[in-house]
Amino acid sequence: MKKVFLYSYILWMIIFIVIPIILVGYFAFTQSENGVVFFTLENFRRVFEFVYIKVLLRSINLALICTLICFLIGYPVAYIMADKNFHFSSTLLFLFLVPMWMNMLLRTYAWLTILEKNGIINSCLALLGFSKINLLYTNQTIVLGMVYNFLPFMILPIHTSLKKINYSAIEAAQDLGADSFTTFRKIIFPLSLPAVCSGITMVFMPAVTTFIVPNLLGGGKFMLIGNLIEQQFLRIADWHFGCAVSLILMAVIFFAAIIFSFVDTDDEGGNLF
């Protein structure tokens, strides 16, 4: 009986995970001309042209900055909320999820109203007598949009793992004379490290692939790898090249995931929430 369930899941997995990837690979390694499909490595050679490498590097760079900022902002938040004496942590945790129930396009779009030349921030600055500053359509704005959209992915796993830390370990450290910083450095942080890693992967992955954020907040001025893929599929219908870029992107992500899984001692790694 159990076997039936197992085999049906494996079948499901093959249909919805393995076969689609094989199909992507099929397109990536072929070209078609006048309806004739033939094997080629041309698509991959093109990916390694200077322009596309530049696009790829910029995406990785921005995603890394975004991940770092998410960590710096998110860790203290998770830490504060995991405090035993903190009362509203479940409510607040839920409040981190609520924005995701509103459409991402709309939320990101709303940032324009805040940041633009006659937007809310600049109007406030003008009221205070400062001169207006250019906040929109820069690399920094893209990072801001990414942080805004993906911050919850950093906070939630860290929070869960901090909550799980056995309080007696902390007390023991304090009894042995460790000050609170040492306790944090030697006990709390190492214990939360696996969660930090899963947080990092969960922020990095969507950040490196997003195409909506650079479109809206970057003013379409800076192409990221997500835009490149979108363009291949939606604008010029070059599926072969699009699939090749997708495979390279997947490779980058898996490479990143492997690096982090070395630190990740937790067997399953995927403690998302």
Partner: protein, 272 residues
């Protein structure tokens, strides 16, 4: 120190909610353009309920989110239990393959599923993109998330209790229902919530896999982009936000009542 912590949290929430506040504010804007205040109006809210296209998209979004998260919780939980009982080599292979969609960019998932459907339609000379391809795709990308929220919980489970139940004469399925399921229920619920959220927020996969006549909200919003986003959508989002907040409040209130009840019971026992 406490004050600093509170201010810090408040700032982070300000960051997260500022755009939403802007969105709600401008849903009362009489002018059709964003950022240009033309006076207060409730017009968009009225028109919203007379717009069959938006209402249908809302229905599709909610029903797909509900069914896909429900079905993927069923599949995911059963799969997680099966995987958990596997031996290590097979287990690792299955786990790693299951992890792929988590790492895949949305757009690749969307496109690869679309290619899959096209392939199936051609092969069987049957079928059409529509509501069910949309639903199936959402289930497909939700299942791994459910599996990975249930699995850690299973790992923390004391394996002896299952055996203890068997020793006491419970059938395996009975033990599963009465012992394992209640234990992993919180994780199953998290999985459900996560799946629901992802499904509601998804645009890319839906775009590639839905068929004619089946729009969800994000597809509708995206297709509006050419001629500007209709303020009716702002109104709809504000209402959705209100619903979530009310829901949150109710859930919380119930929690408070429950914990009070428990406390009272505890007190009574002490008196006895």
């Amino acid at each position: 120190m406490k004050a600093i912590k509170k201010i810090y949290l408040a700032l982070v929430f300000l960051f997260l909610y500022a755009p939403i506040a802007v969105l709600i504010f401008f849903s009362f804007n009489a002018s059709r353009t964003r950022g240009h205040w033309g006076g207060f109006t409730l017009r968009w809210y009225r028109e919203l309920f007379n717009d069959p296209e938006i209402l249908r998209a809302l229905y599709n979004t909610l029903s797909v989110a509900l069914f896909s998260s429900f079905i993927s919780v069923l599949i995911g939980t059963v799969a997680a239990i099966c995987i958990f009982n596997l031996r290590s080599v097979v287990k690792n292979i299955v786990l790693h393959i299951t992890k792929i969609p988590l790492a895949n960019p949305d757009i690749v998932t969307g496109v690869s599923l679309m290619i899959l459907y096209v392939f199936v339609f051609h092969f069987f000379k049957f079928g059409n993109f529509g509501y069910w391809t949309l639903l199936l795709s959402h289930i497909a990308f939700n299942v791994p998330y459910v599996i990975f929220s249930v699995l850690p919980r299973l790992q923390h489970l004391n394996s002896n209790i299952f055996e203890a139940a068997l020793d006491l004469g419970a059938s395996p399925s009975y033990a599963l229902r009465k012992i394992i399921l209640p234990e992993i229920m919180p994780a199953v619920l998290t999985g459900f919530l996560l799946a629901f959220t992802l499904s509601i927020d998804d645009f890319v996969v839906s775009f590639f896999t839905s068929g004619s006549g089946v729009n969800n909200l994000s597809i509708l919003i995206y297709s509006m982009a050419r001629r500007g986003i209709n303020p009716k959508i702002n109104a709809l989002s504000s209402l959705m936000f209100l619903c979530v907040i009310v829901l949150l409040y109710l859930v919380n209130k119930r929690d408070i009542v429950f914990s009070k009840l428990e406390n009272n019971q505890g007190d009574n026992e002490n008196e006895i």
